[in-house]
Symmetry: C2
DNA sequence: CACTTTCTGGAGTTGCTGATCCATTTTTAT
DNA sequence: ATAAAAATGGATCAGCAACTCCAGAAAGTG
C-alpha cells in the first residue's frame, strides 16, 4: 500500500480533504467504486472539480484514502469493542450489536471494507493490500479478546486463538455477505451463533 | 430475477449465445463487471458487436445470464459433491478440494458468485436476486449432506442442520474472501477447519 | 507588509463505452 | 423453391467520466 506523498496541508486543506474522503466513502459504499463518479463526489462534498485533483493524484489515490478511512472507522470501532470483550456473554452481546446494526441498515451494503476488497481485489493492488491490512487488524482485535479470555481462565490455554479469531472473522464476513444477498439477518445470526456455540464448547 | 424473454434460437444461435456468456463470465471474474467492456467480450468470444445485442437487450441482461451461468457451474459442482457427502471424513475431503483449488488459482478471484453479488448487490436488483438463488441452492446442497449424516446416524437428529448448513456456507464465503485478500489459503483453511471441528464435536 | 505557497472555481478536452443502424448472409419452415 | 426469420459484420453515434488548465482568492511566512 503506497502512502500518499507527504504534502503540506493547511488546517482548511485538511478539512477539505477529509470532506472529500468521507463523501467518497459514503458514495462508494452505496454505489460501488465504479458506480461513483468524481462528479458525484464533487457535488456531495461541495467542492470544485480541481480540488479533488489538488488533494489526490487520481481516482485510485482517492480510493486508497477511502480504504484507509474505512479501516479506521470500522476496524477501529471493533478494536474498541474487543478491548473489553473477555467472556462468552460479552461475545453474544457483540453479536447482537452487529445483527441489530444490519437490521437498522435493512441488510444493505454489507461490510464496507469487504465491498471495497471484493470490487478492487484483482484490479488495484494497493487497494487489496489496504483491505488486507484492515482485515489483519480486525483479526488481531478479535484474537486479543480470546487471549483475554485465556488470561481470565475462561478459555483453555491450549486453544489456538489465532485460528479461532480468523474463523470468527470469516464467519462474520460470510454472514454479512449472505445477509446482504438475502436481505435477511437470519444467515448472519446463524453464522455468528454457530461460531460462538463452538467457542462456548471450547470454554467448558 | 426476471427471465430472458423467450426467443427462438437456432442451434448455431445457442452456441453463439453460450460463447458470449462464457467469455463474459471469464472476463467478469477477472476484471469485474464494471471493468469488463462489451468490446472485451466481443473480442474474447470472437463475435461482432451486433451479435451481443442480438442475444441480450443490454449489458444488464448479459450480466444476469452470467449470474445464472455461474450458479450452474459453481453450485452445480457442489451439489454433485454433496450428493455423496455423508460423513466427517468426506467433509474434510471436500475442504481439501476447495483449499487445493484456491492454491492452484493462487488465491485470485475468490468465489465468482460472491464477486458478482458484492459488486452488483446494491446496483442491480435482478443480479442480487440471482445470486441469492445461487446461495440458496448452495446452502440446500450442504444441508442435504448433513441430513444424510443424520439418516446414517452420524449426526444426532436434534441438530439444526438448517442453521449448520448456513454457517458452513458463511464460513466458506468468508474464508474465500480472506484468502483472496491475503493471497493465502491459511485463513480459508482456518475457517473451514474450525467449522468442521464444530460439526465433528456435534457428531459424537 | 511583501512574498510564497496553498487552495479554489469552473470551463474545457479527450478517450472510451454502451448502444444503434442497416445491409448482407445463413438457416428454417411451408 | 421461396418466403420468413434468425444470424452476422461493421460502421457510427452520443453521452459520460476522468482528467487538464489557468486564473484568481485565501492563507501562511518572514
Amino acid at each position: 500500500m503506497t502512502t500518499t506523498p507527504a504534502r503540506r496541508l493547511t488546517r482548511k486543506g485538511e478539512q477539505t480533504r477529509a470532506r472529500i474522503v468521507e463523501a467518497a466513502a459514503d458514495l462508494m459504499f452505496v454505489r460501488g467504486v465504479a458506480g461513483t463518479t468524481l462528479d458525484h463526489v464533487r457535488a456531495e462534498a461541495g467542492v470544485s472539480s480541481s480540488q479533488i485533483y489538488h488533494y489526490f493524484s487520481d481516482k485510485d489515490a482517492l480510493v486508497r484514502a477511502v480504504v484507509a478511512f474505512q479501516n479506521d472507522a470500522i476496524v477501529g470501532q471493533h478494536e474498541r469493542s474487543f478491548a473489553t470483550l473477555d467472556s462468552v456473554p460479552a461475545l453474544r452481546a457483540w453479536r447482537d450489536q452487529i445483527v441489530a446494526h444490519q437490521e437498522r441498515m435493512q441488510c444493505q451494503g454489507g461490510c464496507p471494507i469487504a465491498a471495497l476488497g471484493s470490487e478492487l481485489g484483482e484490479l488495484d493492488l494497493d487497494a487489496r493490500e489496504g483491505v488486507a491490512i484492515g482485515f489483519h487488524r480486525w483479526q488481531a482485535a478479535i484474537r486479543h479478546g480470546f487471549e483475554a479470555m485465556q488470561s481470565r481462565g475462561t478459555l483453555p490455554a491450549e486453544v489456538d486463538v489465532e485460528t479461532l479469531a480468523t474463523a470468527t472473522l470469516a464467519a462474520l464476513q460470510g454472514g454479512l455477505l449472505l445477509c446482504q444477498m438475502h436481505r435477511s439477518t437470519a444467515p448472519l445470526a446463524a453464522a455468528l451463533d454457530t461460531m460462538l456455540d463452538h467457542v462456548e464448547s471450547l470454554a467448558q
